[in-house]
Structures are given as structure tokens and as C-alpha cells.
């Protein structure tokens, strides 16, 4: 159970405070309601590049990290399709330094050419390191445009092409900042060793003066329903054949989210999952296999991905995956297996909530989806999933016309 109180400043900044006096630290998490889905298709990767620039300093504070480290703090950030999220942890006596730093960069950045040039290079190296310089690293670069034809989820957070990063200029960066970074487009969570009254006073003092801004309206094109199966085969010098299968889901807030989450846990939650047991352990077709949902705010994807053992044909392996899913649909006695994944989910939730930072990130995310209180209901919602809901969801989502498949076929001759 995560207890919290909340308030909204006049400028629209929403603040949630969770007190946990068992730690000497405070976590401060600021979520901006902007992700790669909000990018111009001509300039993809901008939200993530921008995350790097947020550490480039302001007129008041030339370097973000130094003063934070000077008070024993630590920070990082991540960007995904939906949000850009910044967090720091700091010994509680020095939490005001966090307020000073975060409110300052919410107010205005330096927009220095030098910082932009360097961070473009850093992001290009990140692109190379994560997506190009390892086998199967480009899977999502290929899968997204296969599954999405219209919605901006068709490109990955890093961007659909490195040239988009290369051509970003200061003018574009400035306009991105003023149309997305603002108190009325952000949610702040303080979690840990801090009193509510202190959090309120410090929020008013430091964030109160940051002016409200006009946020670009979000008019994202809805992805039209997929009507036929899509298949892409990539022949490449990779160590083994691999399969990625994706199916469209509903939105994160939709009625089937927890059902699909539970289905992927039945399939691949740990070594006792069905895909692992049947296809890795028993039939020895895959060296590894996994299944999960992307949990995006707009309709996302179910992903099943596996690497094949030597000598196994892609067609055989793919058929075997489909059989495991069909078996799950026709099984009438899932009670014990459901109880197993529900217990694991509950345990996982308890462990996750031992970290003040995890609690802060979860609270911010649930608040963004419309109701922070749901953070305390997710175990119940997951537990409510029934056998009937599973069967119905499999019939609704796991159908060939809703599926895109990516095959990697290895061109390598193995000795």
C-alpha cells in the first residue's frame, strides 16, 4: 500500500507526496507528458535527444550534475513512446537542492549549440551501440513499421533514422521545449524521508513562479485495425534464426490490459512458463523465448520472441508457438496455473514497492493515466482475471489477421 497526498499548484503542476521515514533519502521524480509519439514524423528521436539536452545546463546553473553530486545526490532519466521521466535521489537534508535544480531546468534551458552538437553525437553512439552493433539489435526498428502503418508508435524512441537526429537544430529544440516542457504538462512525485508540509512549501517556493505554457495539442492518428497477417523476413549474418511475433492490443487503460499481462505471464513468466516448458525444455526448439506486453498508453503490442536452436526450421518453430497459444485457449483448468502467476505478480509488486524510487515512478505514471489511486489496485485487478477472460482475450487478440511476424534467417554456415 502506497499512501500519498497530492496538490496542484496554480500553474498546473501536479504534486504527489509519499512519506517513508525508514530511509535517509528522498526520491524526486518528474514526469513530462511527452514521448516519441508526440514527434513530427520528419524529426523522430527528438524527445529522447531532448532528454539528453536537459542535462546541458541553464543560464543559472551551467552544469546540472555537479551541484547535485555536491550534495550526495544521484540522477538519471528515461524516455519512451509516451513519457519523458527524470528522477533523482538525494539525502533528505539536501532535498531543496533538488527543487532548485529541477525547477530551474523546467523554467528554461541554455539551448547552447555546443551542447546540442555533443549530445547529437552521444545519441548517435547510443543508436549504434544498442541497435546496430549487436545481433538482433535492429528487431524493433523493423517490427514497429511492420505493425504500425499510421500511429507514431511506428518508430522507436531512438528515432526511425539517424539522419533525423543529425538535422535537429536549435530552433527546433527551443520550440519543442516551449510546447512540451511546462508545469501544466508535468507531474512531480516526492517519495521518502520528507514531510508533506515541507514538500508543499518547497514546491510553492521553487516551482510556483514557473509560468504555465501553451502545450501543443495531441492529435495522434489512430492505427486502423489490421486486416491481414504481415510477414517480414530478414536474411542476415546472425548466429541463429529468430522469430518475433506481435499482435495489437487495446490501450493501457482498457479493460483487457491485466488479462493480456496475465496471459503473457502464463506463457513466459519465469522458467515455469508454458513457452519455456514446452518449447525450450521439452521440445528443445528454442534456446530462449519470451513474451510480454508493451503497456503503451495508446493501443500497444503483445510480443513473443525467441531464438531457435540449431537445425530447427523457422516454420516448425512458429507453428509450435501457435500451438502453445491454442492449447492455452482450449485448456479448461487453469486455476492452479493462474494462482501461480497471480502470486508471482503480488510478490513482485511488494518487492518493487520497497524502493522509494520505484514508488515515485509508479505514482507519477498512474497519475498521468488519470488516477494515482490505481497504483494500489493493480494487484486486485490482476487477481480478478478469470479463465473466461483469458479465453475471450486469446480469441480476440491472438488471431493471424492481427499479427505481424519478423523472421531472422541466418545466412551463416555453421561448422
Amino acid at each position: 500500500m502506497i499512501n500519498y497526498n497530492q496538490f496542484t499548484l496554480d500553474n498546473g503542476l501536479r504534486v504527489l507526496v509519499h512519506e517513508d521515514k525508514s530511509t535517509p533519502l528522498v526520491a524526486m521524480n518528474i514526469l513530462y507528458d511527452v514521448g516519441s509519439r508526440d514527434e513530427d514524423p520528419e524529426y523522430t528521436g527528438l524527445a529522447h535527444l531532448f532528454e539528453h539536452l536537459m542535462f546541458g545546463g541553464t543560464a543559472n546553473i551551467p552544469e546540472f550534475d555537479r551541484p547535485l553530486q555536491m550534495v550526495g545526490g544521484e540522477n538519471n532519466a528515461f524516455t519512451n513512446n509516451d513519457i519523458t521521466n527524470y528522477y533523482l535521489t538525494i539525502p533528505s537534508a539536501n532535498i531543496e537542492t533538488g527543487f532548485w535544480l529541477e525547477s530551474d531546468r523546467m523554467q528554461e534551458l541554455n539551448f547552447a549549440q555546443k551542447s546540442l552538437d555533443t549530445q547529437k553525437n552521444v545519441v548517435i553512439q547510443e543508436f549504434n551501440q544498442r541497435y546496430l552493433n549487436q545481433p538482433y539489435g535492429d528487431a524493433l526498428l523493423n517490427l514497429r513499421p511492420l505493425a504500425y502503418k499510421v500511429h507514431p508508435y511506428r518508430w522507436p524512441t531512438i528515432g526511425m533514422d539517424i539522419s533525423h537526429i543529425e538535422k535537429a537544430d536549435i530552433k527546433l529544440i527551443k520550440s519543442f521545449f516551449y510546447s512540451h516542457y511546462a508545469p501544466n504538462n508535468a507531474i512531480m512525485v516526492l517519495s521518502g524521508n520528507i514531510n508533506f508540509n515541507n514538500a508543499l512549501a518547497l514546491s510553492q517556493k521553487w516551482f510556483g513562479p514557473v509560468e504555465r505554457r501553451t502545450i501543443s495539442p495531441r492529435n495522434l492518428p489512430a492505427e486502423p485495425p489490421q486486416t491481414e497477417e504481415r510477414i517480414l523476413t530478414i536474411e542476415k549474418d546472425v548466429p541463429a534464426n529468430a522469430i518475433y511475433k506481435v499482435w495489437h492490443t487495446g490501450p493501457r487503460n482498457g479493460p483487457d490490459h491485466f488479462t493480456l499481462d496475465l496471459i503473457t505471464d502464463l506463457l513466459a513468466g519465469g522458467e515455469s512458463g508454458r513457452l519455456y516448458t514446452k518449447l525450450v525444455r521439452e521440445r528443445k526448439m528454442f534456446s530462449e523465448i519470451n513474451a510480454y506486453i508493451t503497456s503503451d498508453i495508446d493501443p500497444g503490442l503483445i510480443i513473443v520472441q525467441g531464438k531457435l536452436m540449431k537445425g530447427i526450421k523457422s516454420e516448425t518453430a512458429e507453428k509450435a508457438i501457435n500451438e502453445v497459444i491454442e492449447e492455452l485457449e482450449s485448456n479448461n483448468d487453469l486455476n492452479e496455473e493462474m494462482e501461480k502467476v497471480k502470486n508471482k505478480f503480488e510478490s513482485s509488486s511488494v518487492f518493487s514497492n520497497t524502493s522509494i524510487l520505484n514508488k515515485a515512478v509508479s505514482l507519477a505514471y498512474y497519475e498521468l493515466m488519470g488516477n494515482a489511486e490505481l497504483v494500489n489496485k493493480e494487484v486486485d485487478l490482476y487477481r480478478k482475471v478469470s479463465q473466461e477472460m483469458i479465453t475471450t482475450a486469446i480469441r480476440k487478440y491472438f488471431i493471424p489477421s492481427n499479427c505481424s511476424t519478423l523472421h531472422y534467417k541466418s545466412t551463416r554456415k555453421e561448422k
Binding site: M70, G73, P91, W100, A240, R281
Partner: protein, 426 residues
Amino acid sequence: MNNLKREQPPVYPVEKVTIPDTKSTVLSNGVQVYAIEAGTEDIMRVEFTFRAGQVKESMPLLASTTNMMLTEGSENYSSEELNRLLDYYGIFHNTSSEKDRAGLVMFFLSKHIDKVLELSREILFHPVFPEEELSSLLKKRLRWFLVNREKVQNLSMDQFFESIFGKNHPYGHKIKGSDFEKLNTAQISDFHSKYYNPGNMAIIISGKLHEKSIDLLDKYFGGLATGEVAYYDDNRKVNSQKRNRIHIEKAGTVQTSIRIGSTTINKRHSDYPGLKVVDSILGGYFSSRLMKNIREEKGYTYGISSSVSSLDLTGYKVISTEVGKENLQNTLDEIYREIRLLQSVPLMKEELSIVRNYMSGEMVRMFDGPFALADSFKSVWEFGLDSSYYLRLAEKINTIDPDEIIQLARTYYNIDDLYQITAGTK
């Protein structure tokens, strides 16, 4: 900005950490237990640790495979049943095998402690090592290995260990595809019976403990025969190889991986806390010199870091990064330039104060919560040290001066002694 003077708030010194006591006790058969009471949730972690790591193996893969085979079937449970039960009780388990130690860690809701200990005993002391499961595991591991070998960072790291520890030392074992064909169940059983001996085990339990926790440990582990603890220690000396510049050519890569470092002192040496500070300045945190220069100034890389690690027989330090191949030479030059600067120009007051405060903050994090406490305990205990090591580290962080930093950098970062391994397309 409206009316607010955006002056920096006052900076308070990071408070000294208080390290809670670890209670040491023994089970009926003499097995050593360390208990750390902490946390607010009803959860626990129990770790069973043995000197059964890579250092004890006579051939590559033996230690790690024995460890991974522990959950592949026991006298009372098949591998499938074991995994199903672990999941059913919401238990997170890690079997881990490192250079010196290996064992099992279980994270669980306190209410399931009985079941956790029963399953742990099965896993650790009653494995059966079925032929068929070993053969499947090795085939799977070979596939993973082939994927990993495509990544330049693995190629450079494996070569680095071979170069600094020597081909013939188990710390330096570099795995080859053919190694996956050499292991059999007799070797696994033999390794298990030698090194997973209850007499060679320590248990570290942490979390919201209750009165019965130790009694339950005694119920499941106190009756095991501890027998003779055979050490089989030949402690082969670490012998770094002669050649200290190696490039591994791999066609078609867009980045080249760099590892620069050597063996060094470990935690038992009195200079170690000081070396930790020097390492942090060089590449141990976001505002380190290598990060500032090579990422934030030049944009050559997504990340660069340095670290110092302790092993039982030695220690090692390593600088790691992946850079665009066009920037390889520039990066190497800059790394050596940074080391020389550290050896010749005294640190400015401000930088010293940043690294002090950053490291003091890190120490707060190292003792925040039951699981962090257990990790911090283990990482001194395994060297025969106690929490006074952390007091010495805290003291060194606060008292080290620019002269001592120069001296340490000269002693421990002698450029002629460093190994330089690169992997990628030239």
C-alpha cells in the same frame, strides 16, 4: 523569472552512515549464519554462499554449469516441479556463480519462509544432475555464447581477463565453442560434492526477521553433515601475460570496444579505499574526468567508465567504453592523457569536494534497506573484513588530499603496466 532569486539552497554535509549490526550465530552443526534485521515490509532475502566459483574449476564452464544445474532436478522434485513451486510461492531466485563464490539467493514474502528453506535445501544439497538436462543446458548455453560472441564488449572483456590473469588461471578462462562438448555429469557431481559442502557454506539472512527465522534455518540446515571441509586449494598464482596490447578484429562493426587496465590490490590492502577515490575521479561517476571529456565534451561514446574490483587472490581495475571506430585512436590518446593528468596536476578544491560528497551519498545508498545491507555485509565479509572497512573508506573519502591522489595514481596507474584490449573493425 518572476521575483524568485534563484540562489542555490544551503548545502548540508552528507551525514555519516550508521551501519546496523549483523548478528552472527551458528546452527547446531556449526554452519555460520549472519542475520541482518531491517526494513518495514514483510519480506526477506536469504543467501547461501560457497567458495565454489570459477577459481575452483579445473576446466572452463565447470563452476557455472554446476551452479546452473542445481535447479535442474533434485531427489524429490523434477526440474519442472521445482520451477513451478518457486513461481507458485512468488519466490525470486538467483543461482549465481562468480569468480570466487557461487551459491543461491532467494527473495520472498516472509510468510513463505518454510517452503523457501525446504526448496533451498533440495536445490543445494540434493540435486541429481540428470544426463539429459545437462545436455540440453549445454546446447542452450552454446547458443547464448554464439550470440554473446557477436558483441564487441564481450570479446574485449574476455580477452582482458585472459590477458591480466593468464591463460592457465581459472580467473582468466576464456570460453571456446568446443568447451561446451567437454563436460559430463560425473565432473559436475564431483565439483558439487567438493565445493557445495554444508561445512563450506555461510548463510546471510536479511529483512524483517522474526524470532523463528533462525530456528527454521536450523530445522532445514542444522542437521546436515558438515563433514571434512576439503579445500583442494592450490591457489594457482595469477600470471599476467606478456603481450599487453591486443586487438581482436571483428568485421562489420560500427563501434570498437576498449578495455584498459590491469590486476591491482584488493580490499585487504590499506591503499584500497584511496584507490577507490582515485578511480571515482577518473571514471567512477557521471561527472568523472573520462565521462566529461570523452562523452560530454567530445561525444565519442554513449558511456565510459572505470572501476576497481576485488577478488580473493588479487584485484583488478578496468576502463571500459565502446566508441565509433573513427574515434578509436583519439579516445585511447585521451584516456592516457587523463591518467597522466591525474598523476601530475593536483586536484582543485571544488572537484575534490564533489567527489567526496558524491561518494558519501553513495555510501548512504549502500546501507539503505535490508538487501543493500546484506550486499554490503557480504562484500567485506568474504575478504575476512568487517564493517570497519566502511569506516576506513568514509574516513579516506573525507581526508584524502591532492598529494595523496597523485601518489596513488602514480603507484597504481603506471601506464606501462596497463593492458590495452580493443575489439571491432579497424
